[in-house]
Symmetry: D2
Subunit: 420 residues, 4 copies
């Protein structure tokens, strides 16, 4: 395995190649193959970008056909067949059946770009500047988005410039079971000297991804929506990681029966790992003037092609939804067993999540790292998240076959038992 | 032509579909085809993203091969064959022959992301916060990059939040021929109460793109480099639009014989219109700690595949360079003739640029819009830039055939003469 | 009473002249005299600036003597007899007996200036930027201090610019009796993705003044000090309103037995209503370089003369302390009776405070305003505070005679009973 | 001379006591007396705070009378006789005769507070955030004002936080005689991608004080006013140092025949060295809501008493104006002779200024320090200013007697000749 040039030329900022120091060459479905031919089951799946697996054949065909036809690959934000088809698929397959009426903003093809566009729109539309984010929230690292991202690792790498325009509040459950953290939010809102500038918007992940797979309670989300409505605060659901079916519904907020004012999607939106993002917004919020937010790769055509294929293939009926829920229960059960096993060994552990966005929390990053390192040796790519990296995380493809799923869970079990 | 859904669902922020209100379906080389079969020669080329033309066959083959082999499409920043191959091509074809020693940071696949990473690194590496940008500079619209972008259109769409951490200075020529604007910069630096915080970095386009195709003088650039060295200021060349051969050299700064500390590339870097960006930095500046700057689509594999193919195809010898310079002279000559023609009609006009990054400045956006609208009717996609949109802009594919080039210039000439 | 010129020429920003629309001409001790000869007992006392009463004769004599001698009135921060004498009095009468070792910074003569200097020093000394403030905290309105002040009234009058460099946490009791708000602070500190940038300092009022006379529990303050020590966070006690004896000790933090790293004093520090402020800091924190923080009126000589006289007159023994505590009990008892009375009338009311910094909370600003308006008619100047103005506030001179005190309390009682 | 306690207890931030390391005890007119009895002529005069000299007997009497009568010393912003009398004097003696119609805001009693209030009002009144300041401008050090202050010494002492909401432009003459720096301002304003956010206001000193006694040309000021009017930019003249007669007119902008929208005064406004400041504004700009900007010492009564006395004593006729102009010519002539002398010694030097705000620029701070140190030994307190401290500065009392003036100039001459 030739890695010298990779080690020499790539910036020290690189991270996953440190956890998985092999050169990957091929991938199919839930499996990655390294240069030496060794296969790995992928429980990371591009941090939630590959919900339909690697190189999904149905989506691939659409991509190859489009390329073969010399369709428009890059056209800034001009009108293309690909864009029209994407909007049609989005409306017919996703929005209409859910009774959602949104306009679509196609910013640069990354999640952070969608978040920047969303919070800027919220400011323009409300005339307020403050954005509420939550403890352990992650919404990207460009400066506007970073203001809403909780991780010190990123926040301290600004060269000392404080972020501005956002304030953090405790996420659901953050202060223990006895405290409804929205009581605190409501008190701050109603208090003229609380220090909380009246917010333009709240940005929330219904299940926090990088923060440790923390699902907000459905009642908490409903109450959050209600508070926002009462105070003319826009509700932004950042569904970049939890969306596109990861929790067992296309939008993660469907579980709670709420309707955000603004939604951001990216990661699995293209369905094939291609960079893509959009912002959905209630039509009356579309206060953008032509060209006020731009970017060279806004509306990436190939991604719109694969996204339309993915939507039509997987979301025209409820098969995938039900399958995700079923597999989610399998993972939950196995994680719970591992938590119980660890409990017997004197290690406090627990499982949590929604759909196939699940975590086995082993209480410390040190422990979690031991488990994931062992798992990698045994053929499973799996990562940690959470403020201390304490949560071993299942983000496997939603389309993973049962055989692969069970093999992966077996590897994880063996790894836990080998280590503790 | 069915455009209702496009008009109904896409945000009002859309812009190019207003100038070119047709649905494009196919493209090849320098030609776009609309749904009604009408062909257009493309003098916009993705705002400089399609230097090798639409669906360039040599690059396309590499992409199709990679897709066929089920190579890794998305792997966060793991090691892949595609990344290794890209780094090898970059080193062998580009850096070594030019005597450049840079490390590579692969941030999110957009220009603004590369700029955010570059200026943040400059702050971390120097312990200073101030970034110098220039009048009419454009470096992206996420909040960190926006601080260095001059356009009020974007700056006023932040919802009232002032950008922070940057200061603007006059670009070369901004104060007329009699003033060397770097005299002002040097005076500010040497003056302890000038109001200029000692800069971490200067970020500069050697030929300003969105600002109106303004080439900085080569001596001015040399002096800028010298001033930076003397004051421990990092020199960042934002080569997102002017790089990848646009000016007749791979890096636009080669003309001036300077060596930036940090370089940003994007747009044509992938060679096929795929989202991609990198930051090059002197190795000793690589102060990043693992994972301090992240993003889901950092190091987009398909783009690395096409980028490597583009580099090897077009930059292993100096053919393209010479061809760009030759065609640049043709465009310059024709633009000068048009400027002369307009002068005879009493309209002050001029041509300027470097390589195939050229403008015909007609003095007002109103005039320029009339010309480009007429040209579109006649089959030429061409746009304006500059603070008032006063510069009709040639950003055609570098690989455009002479026939297409001359036809496009004929259309432009006819358009100018039809309008004035 | 001639008020036209006052109404015509003074900015609409004026506020107390709206509550008390008479022209005051003279004052002595706890009594103000208006132009028409009517006398008022002063329970506002310059919002805590006149702890020793109006025109206190002992302090006045020192001032007159100094003026008569043509001592230095204004000398920037040059050395003067007045400054030396002030530092001697401060050290001998206040610091040494309390075992405190502080250096003294004499910034501009206002509280907000002292706060700006304190938080800037904390940033310079720690290399961190974040300042923790608390809900309902008030620390001044210049932009640096405003970041730590909770009132929307001021925060919304910045012309839309967000303040920066501070974060708000819940003050003691803010989330109800069941929640120790410092649990939340500790959790945020220990959580790497909480969104809380590691603080340079905490700034706290031990009894919040403008926020509604909210005393922090003494155990809460002790724990706050402990948390700060454990995380290398500087503890700033803003003792501008609660200091100088107001709570029954010279420094309000003496009750809790804590030792702040930095202390700000102003308001009653001069003892005569003259503008004056200082910042006390542990000697090792004095990281200022010469002249890094300046201001024309730093170290106002006349104020240092009166301050030294006030310290020597009132703080050489514990008489005043004991007297304040005694009178505080009287006020507390009478306020409690009024709360009980209101309770019987179906109005939830309560009393709270420390020493002679006390409030009768009547639940709403509307009610409180009725009471204070009535009291003014009956000869008592008294104001409200709190986020809704719901707290009728006793800030009478500490030196008020028992007769005046009781008469004022009688007026207040009559006013309450007249209104409800 | 006992200085231990001063050296031990006062923060290292102290500065003037380093240049003049004696303890001053008394002062009268233009003369300071140190503890050892040595007298010094005062060419610093509180950095322009003592325009009427130390302990001016006419003003002193008003102060003593008010103190004797037990007038209100501190009343927040309540109505007092002192305030009414001050407003009357201001209107009758100053505003009416000059045809000026301003409302008065009495913020905290310091210059920086007045600047904070002025720029905040400009933002509120215009809905824009950007404030234009000029190279070498000084407007105070609290965070809001600091954004407009050019000195790195202060700007670098924020603990790394960048200031926000202001941009610097070159002051008159900054780019040499050939460049009218307002051409640059106008170009930036008219250019939509210049990077200059449309300003709420320009803040300018007509003669820069701390920046080195730099007088703006009168035509430049007129053009600046015109540009502001044309672009709906408010013109703020910061007349804190140059106002109150220092330049030979009460307001320094009278020379140019311009009418600022907002004026700040402080320093000599009280006439006796007492902390005091006001903001004057065109009545229609008074967008303050009650209480939106506050501060404990706003409208300091004693200062209003002395200020009224000073205005009536010195500004009821034009005697002082003419006298300042006459003495200014004397100083100018002597400074020019010194500049010529230095020129003969091969040292490039020059004189500049307006009225009694004058500088002898000796080209470097090192040289200037030698001269002022020598002068201090010989009995003259005189300081330097400018970005390098290169300008030996005359800010003597306007009321200085000719004998003292000439003696001081003789000392300065002897000092220059002793050193060079």
């Amino acid at each position: 395995m030739q890695t010298q040039i990779l080690e020499r030329m790539e910036s020290e900022v690189r991270t996953y190649s440190r956890s998985f120091p092999v050169v990957f060459t091929k991938a199919q479905g839930a499996r990655l193959t390294a240069e030496d031919g060794k296969q790995y089951i992928d429980f990371l799946a591009g941090a939630g970008t590959l919900n339909y697996g690697h190189n999904n054949p149905k989506i691939k065909q659409a991509l190859l056909d489009y390329l073969a036809s010399d369709g428009i690959v890059h056209g800034l934000d001009m009108w293309t067949e690909a864009k029209r088809d994407y909007l049609e698929a989005l409306e017919e397959v996703i929005l209409k059946p859910r009774g959602l009426d949104y306009k679509v903003h196609l910013p640069g093809p990354t999640g952070t770009n969608a978040v920047e566009a969303a919070i800027r729109l919220a400011r323009v539309a409300t005339g307020r500047h403050n954005i509420i984010s939550f403890t352990n929230g992650f919404h990207g690292v460009t400066m506007g988005a970073l203001a809403t991202t909780g991780n010190r690792k990123f926040r301290e790498a600004t060269g000392g410039i404080p972020t501005q325009g956002a304030a953090f509040l405790p996420f659901d459950g953050y202060m223990g079971e006895a405290v409804d953290t929205l009581d605190y939010f409501e008190k701050l809102l109603g208090d003229n000297s609380s220090g909380l500038d009246l917010p333009a918007a709240v940005i929330v992940e219904t299940v926090q991804g990088e923060g440790g797979i923390n699902p907000a309670g459905l009642d908490w989300l409903k109450r959050l929506e209600k508070i926002c409505r009462e105070h003319q605060i826009l509700l932004i659901v950042d569904d970049i990681q939890a969306g596109c079916g990861r929790t067992g519904k296309f939008f993660s907020f469907e579980h709670a029966g709420i309707t955000p004012d603004i939604v951001t999607n990216s990661k699995s939106l293209s369905g094939y790992g291609l960079p893509f993002a959009h912002v959905l917004m209630r039509p009356e919020l579309d206060k953008w003037k032509p060209g006020q937010y731009n970017g060279t790769f806004r509306g990436f055509s190939l991604a719109m092609v694969t996204a339309a294929a993915a939507l039509r293939t997987y979301w025209s009926d409820d098969k995938l939804e039900r399958d995700v829920q079923r597999k989610g229960r399998i993972v939950a059960e196995r994680f719970q067993q591992l938590a119980d096993y660890l409990g017997e060994k004197g290690i406090t552990a627990s499982e949590r999540g929604r759909g196939l966005m699940r975590a086995l929390d082993v209480g410390s990053g040190e422990r979690a790292d031991k488990i994931t390192a062992e798992a990698f040796q045994r053929g499973l790519v799996i990562e940690t998240s959470g403020h201390d990296g304490q949560a071993v995380k299942c983000l496997c493809p939603l389309t993973i076959g049962d055989e692969d799923l069970l093999e992966a869970l077996d590897i994880l079990e063996a790894s836990v038992k080998a280590v503790f």
